[in-house]
């Protein structure tokens, strides 16, 4: 019995940590369901104790609001808009930041040149640019995409550059003793060696960008999940607001899960490397 509880606890912490080395007696999703069930129960109790239902709607109200938003198409429409913006901006950010990061990691000169501008801009949160961007882009796609590219750019740039700088020197030496030319060295040694670090920074970039899209859409866009939250808030429809918040969380989680499987598919050799 004690062993079994210990095992369950181990596998639960395994789920939290995102690794699967712990022996597992229950499938991960049952444990997840149980945790969520407990959370909903607490939530229900608290909303029951709250006199004003607008301040804290009950889980049942939120569930029915969620169904309504699915039925009237608002959920799919706004989620599609936000996800498209995420995809577009992270792609654009990657296309600029990854090559620049590769160059920065290999060239001392470029690193010195970029270090100061990057260090000055990086601490400024993307959402700090919203008021200014509102003047520049007005309300529409431009503003959230600008904010999200900005947000995704720095983790990608710095993660790629760090990945390149930390490439095992011996691998470069080995390639050089085989007479591998410079361009080939970048493509076939430095890039694959830095890929785990690049993928990790892509996950950070997507997570940060997803946070920024909601903030940007709250003020700067006539569509998207952030806009929906603001719209239903003005209608005092808090169950719908909560429903959209849950959707944002779920989609963020799913995006990360997708990136993790992409990493695993791109780097079948990397899994065991990390565990060692």
């Amino acid at each position: 019995m004690v062993q079994r509880i210990a095992g369950m606890m181990a596998s639960f912490s395994g789920v939290l940590m995102g690794n699967s080395t712990a022996p597992r007696h229950w499938p991960a999703w049952t444990i997840y369901l149980r945790t969520m069930g407990l959370f909903c129960l607490l939530w229900y109790a608290m909303s029951w104790l709250t006199p004003n239902k607008i301040l804290l709607p009950s889980p049942l109200d939120v569930a029915s609001a969620l169904r309504d938003r699915i039925d009237d198409g608002e959920l799919v429409a706004n989620a599609t808009v936000s996800l498209t913006r995420l995809l577009v901006s992270v792609s654009i950010a990657s296309l600029i930041a990854i090559p620049l990061g590769l160059a920065m990691g290999t060239s001392r000169l470029l690193e010195d040149l970029l270090e100061w501008p990057v260090e000055l801009l990086r601490p400024i949160a993307g959402i700090a640019w919203i008021p200014l961007a509102l003047f520049m882009f007005g309300i529409g796609n431009g503003l959230p995409i600008f904010i999200m590219i900005y947000t995704a750019f720095f983790p990608l740039l710095l993660g790629t550059a760090a990945g390149v700088r930390n490439v095992d020197r011996r691998l470069i030496s080995a390639a050089r003793t085989m007479g591998i030319p410079k361009g080939t060295l970048m493509r076939h040694v430095i890039f694959p060696a830095a890929l785990p670090s690049i993928m990790t920074s892509a996950r950070l970039a997507v997570a940060a960008s997803w946070t920024a899209v909601v903030a940007a859409e709250l003020v700067g866009a006539p569509s998207g999940l952030g806009y929906a939250i603001e719209y239903y808030r003005s209608m005092l429809d808090t169950p719908s607001v909560m429903a959209f918040i849950i959707v944002i969380g779920t989609l963020g989680f799913l995006c990360d899960a997708a990136l993790r499987s992409l990493s695993a598919a791109l780097m079948p050799w990397a899994n065991a490397e990390e565990k060692r």
């Binding site: 095992d168 011996r170 691998l171 030496s173 080995a174 390639a175 050089r176 003793t177 085989m178 007479g179 591998i180 030319p181 080939t184 076939h188 040694v189 694959p192 060696a193 890929l195 780097m267 079948p268 050799w269 990397a270 065991a272 490397e273 060692r276």
Partner: protein, 272 residues
């Protein structure tokens, strides 16, 4: 007049320091040595005596601090595909399978120039057979044992067919039987059965005295801290060498000689 051709590689008063002054470590000092074309030269010495450092300088991966190191009369200023290296810690590409690692130089470097795809694949297959890795072709380095990784590194070097082979303890992680089989194979690859002019040039680091004697034409014994030339021992055992060689009297005598030379160094190194 002697028949001796010009040396392939010449080291003259080579010194190597690591780190800035004044805290510099002198890894190699006043090392002078000629390596003949077609020669199999072994280097032995206690660990930390600078063997790997010498090899890295020969490979062109580390510059000499002072002195000169030349190949065919020209200073060695960087790595080149004619000098293949097998590293002590293998330096396999984690993202490449066994086949991808062994074929890397053929696929991306000058070793594969002028070879068709089929010819390159045939070379990789031969190298895999040579080191006994059949059945592990699609595995990644992290799925292999230490001994298997070492054999991949050996196969990668062999597949590139460099004119000069620089090998750093290439068989150290293998079991005794595999090691003996691969010693024979190495002698074949080097060109034991061919005239000297057709042989490759090998610089072979090992910590096994018997291995050095069995393989080499000459054994360089280094002393430690800093690495200096202690003695060069000529191995005048007949070729081709085989199991009989290992059992011969002169083999035992040479082994004894080198052991005597190395013993005080080994004690000095372990007692430090």
């Amino acid at each position: 007049m002697t028949q001796q051709p010009a040396p392939k590689i010449t080291l003259a008063h080579v010194r190597k320091e690591f780190g800035g002054t004044p805290a510099a470590v002198v890894a190699v000092d006043s090392l002078s040595l000629d390596i003949q074309p077609g020669e199999f030269l072994a280097i032995v010495g206690p660990s930390g005596c600078g063997k790997t450092t010498v090899l890295n300088m020969l490979a062109g991966l580390e510059p000499v601090t002072s002195g000169t190191m030349t190949m065919d009369g020209k200073a060695i200023s960087g790595p080149g595909a004619e000098r293949g290296v097998m590293f002590q810690d293998y330096a396999l590409f984690p993202w490449k399978t066994v086949v991808g690692n062994i074929g890397f130089g053929l696929d991306h470097g000058p070793a594969g120039h002028g070879l068709s795809r089929a010819e390159r694949e045939a070379r990789v297959t031969r190298a895999i057979d040579l080191v006994g890795l059949k059945g592990s072709e699609t595995k990644y380095p992290h799925q292999l044992s230490g001994g298997m990784r070492q054999r991949v590194a050996l196969a990668r070097l062999v597949a590139n067919e460099p004119k000069i082979l620089l090998m750093d303890e290439p068989l150290a992680a293998l079991d005794a039987q595999t090691r003996i089989i691969l010693q024979d194979e190495l002698l074949r690859i080097w060109g034991q059965d061919k005239p000297t002019s057709e042989r490759r040039t090998v610089v072979y680091i090992t910590h096994s005295i018997d291995e050095a004697i069995f393989l080499a034409d000459r054994v360089v014994v280094l002393s430690s801290h800093p690495g200096r030339l202690k003695r060069i021992v000529d191995v005048d055992l007949a070729r081709p060498r085989n199991d009989e060689t290992r059992k011969s009297r002169s083999f035992a005598e040479l082994s004894q000689t080198i052991w005597e030379l190395i013993r005080e160094e080994a004690y000095r190194a372990t007692m430090r």
